[in-house]
């Protein structure tokens, strides 16, 4: 029997109870992440990528809930765990960092204390040992003078420093998987690059897997081993990063990546996607992208396309793909 992948998301459905009934934010998503790899989830705002991330940790805020599917961490289904068991997973096996380092740290506790807390939650160590581990973690994320920095309150640190603290906190218990939800979006461009470099270095050191959520294709190009493109709660295309960049099949992926200006192809017009992601209470029938799709035909409005194979581990959910055939 082949070894189970580190994380396997199987047909996950996360819904929000609203005045319009139960609306799916994540609708039948399946993904796999292996140890030491980086999976980037790409999509516009509102496509369900953050809800997917929170679902993995079972931290979807009310009135949201996981309505179906499985999330298996090394073969163990997280959706079946008790709340207490789940707490043992959070921070210890799967850790998460967020988009806003300015607000993600508690302003009234020192950063050292906040890391310490994560350590004490999962390891049977004394407060002093926890403090030492916290200082080590700060050193690992290249924070200078970590001993002194541990005594600082978050408001004394810059955005980049705070995100480093968040990473130190996330990695203090050496998790196998780090979920990073838009970790660089709120940061200056130069700091972004530093944080991404840091994540890559730490991944090389620890062998952890990274689930990176972003809408920044530059970040994807920099970081991804695998890419999953989400649209309106569904994965519309997934595959190895090279395949997605060089041979995208889904019109939405093409639109996304086509809207990335390229220096080597100046003559090409930028492909922009008209319109916006439909809200969960007004999802179109059939392929959810069809109202914005230049290639849609009658079938796209009626039937929902399933993921089809286009190469090794490369799949897209589109009836019309490959589009080259049509161009001919």
């Amino acid at each position: 029997m082949p070894e189970a992948p580190l994380l396997e998301i199987d047909n996950l459905r996360t819904v929000f109870r609203t005045g319009h009934g139960e609306l799916p934010a994540v609708d039948g998503v399946s993904l796999v992440i292996d140890t030491g790899r980086t999976l980037c989830i790409v999509g516009e705002s509102g496509c369900g990528k953050s809800v997917l991330a929170l679902s993995i940790l079972r931290l979807v805020p009310r009135p949201g809930r996981i309505a179906g599917g499985a999330i298996r961490l090394a073969g163990r289904d997280l959706t079946a765990l008790s709340e207490a068991e789940m707490r043992g997973v959070r921070g210890a096996e799967i850790a998460m960092i967020f988009q806003e380092p300015m607000t993600s740290l508690n302003p009234v506790h020192t950063v050292g204390f906040q890391i310490e807390e994560a350590v004490l939650a999962h390891r049977a160590v004394s407060r002093r040992e926890a403090r030492e581990i916290a200082i080590e973690s700060l050193a690992r994320v290249r924070i200078p003078d970590p001993k002194r920095r541990a005594e600082e309150y978050p408001h004394r640190l810059s955005g980049g420093m705070r995100q480093r603290v968040m990473i130190a906190m996330a990695l203090a218990c050496r998790p196998k998987l780090l979920i990073a939800d838009e970790p660089t979006t709120a940061l200056d461009v130069t700091i972004q690059a530093q944080i991404l470099d840091l994540l890559r270095e730490l991944q090389a050191e620890t062998g952890m897997a990274i689930l990176l959520i972003t809408h920044d294709l530059g970040v994807v190009a920099e970081m991804a081993d695998e890419v999953a493109v989400m649209y309106a709660g569904r994965v519309v295309e997934r595959g190895p990063a090279e395949a997605i960049f060089s041979d995208a099949q889904h019109p939405y992926t093409l639109g996304l990546f086509g809207s990335l200006p390229r220096l080597d192809a100046e003559a090409e017009r930028l492909l922009a996607i008209e319109g916006t992601v439909p809200p969960p209470f007004a999802l179109p029938s059939g392929c959810r992208f069809h109202p914005r799709c230049a290639f849609a035909d009658g079938r796209c409005a009626n039937d929902t396309p399933a993921l089809r194979r286009f190469g090794e581990r490369h799949e897209a959910a589109c009836f019309r793909a490959p589009l080259e055939a049509m161009a001919a």
Binding site: R87, A92, A95, T103, N106, A121
Partner: protein, 313 residues
């Protein structure tokens, strides 16, 4: 931190001068003439004039005020017009019972309010939440005197469980505790609701903050998430609001002391005003205002203790 406290102290000085001025003017506007009161109903016009001159009441107002300030600076608060007892001496005797009553009221009301508010916020929308909020609204709406009278009628009079007049000794004696129970329940009782409501709002606000999500994401137990990351942060606004409310509580203390014959500053104030005891009323006003200023100072210091961002500024 020390600079913060000193700055706050400095701003308290003009407030105090203002209070003295208003207190002074207020008693001037009252239509009763203290000299007449002191002289008694049978006194002749000459006697009254003599007393007026003796008390300095025939001088211009501004001079009376300046003399008053000057004596005050020397610690001389004057002598009661009614019974010739030095005001300072009366105040010294009544301040401790008032402090005692305030502490005995707050010591249970604040923790209970914090607890109810936090639990209500955590289980927002639940039956418990709605019960607490209904209780809080009732608490805000019921006047102190009414709650006090209810307690006196039922607990004190009908069921004869607890005494309801006066102070019976220090708090470390059973008799002392029994005597303070009803006044403290009354004064604290009207305070639980507002504290619970403010706490609930503040905790609800913090519970949706990003850092609470972070705390959960690192696997902290819910108890720690709520205490360390929600309530701890919520205390910053709550302490400010509690500080403001304690000011009103001083007003409540005046009423409570009066209905329970508690020998405190509040009752002294009411008695002095009713009997036109000019210096005594001024003395009590000064003490109650000072209390208000001290409470605000304590709140400011607490604020800095609770919020590292204020500490640094």
């Amino acid at each position: 931190m020390l600079g913060h406290i000193l700055r706050r102290l400095a701003t308290a000085v003009p407030v105090m001068v203002g209070v003295l001025l208003i207190g002074f003017v207020l008693l001037q506007v009252v239509p009763t003439d203290p000299a007449t009161v002191r002289a008694g109903p049978m006194a002749s016009a000459e006697t009254i004039a003599a007393i007026r001159a003796d008390l300095g009441l025939d001088r211009p107002l501004w001079e009376q005020f300046l003399r008053y300030l000057w004596r005050l600076a020397q610690g001389d608060l004057g002598v009661s017009i009614i019974n010739n007892v030095p005001v300072a001496q009366e105040l010294a005797a009544t301040i401790p019972p008032t402090l005692e009553l305030m502490v005995a009221s707050l010591v249970w009301a604040i923790p209970l309010g914090l607890l109810l508010g936090t639990v209500a916020a955590y289980w927002r929308g639940s039956l418990f939440d709605r019960a607490v909020m209904a209780f809080a609204v009732a608490g805000v709406s019921v006047p102190v005197f009414f709650l006090g009278l209810l307690l006196i009628w039922f607990v004190g009079f009908k069921w004869q469980l607890l005494p309801f007049t006066g102070r019976a000794g220090p708090l470390w004696t059973l008799e002392g505790l029994r005597a303070i129970a009803l006044p403290a329940l009354t004064l604290g009782g009207v305070f639980v609701g507002p504290v619970a409501r403010m706490t609930r709002t503040a905790v609800l606000d913090v519970l949706s903050a990003d850092h609470v999500r972070t705390a959960r994401a690192k696997g902290l137990a819910e108890r720690l998430v709520v205490l360390r990351h929600a309530l701890r942060n919520a205390l910053i606004p709550v302490v400010t609001l509690i500080g403001l409310q304690i000011g009103f509580l001083l007003g409540g203390a005046v009423v409570t002391e009066t209905i329970f014959s508690w020998p405190g500053v509040g009752r002294l104030a009411v008695g002095a005003i009713l009997s036109s005891d000019f210096p005594m009323a001024q003395g009590t006003i000064i003490v109650l205002s000072l209390g208000f200023i001290v409470i605000n100072l304590v709140v400011d210091v607490l604020y800095a203790v609770l919020d590292p961002r204020v500490r640094a500024a």
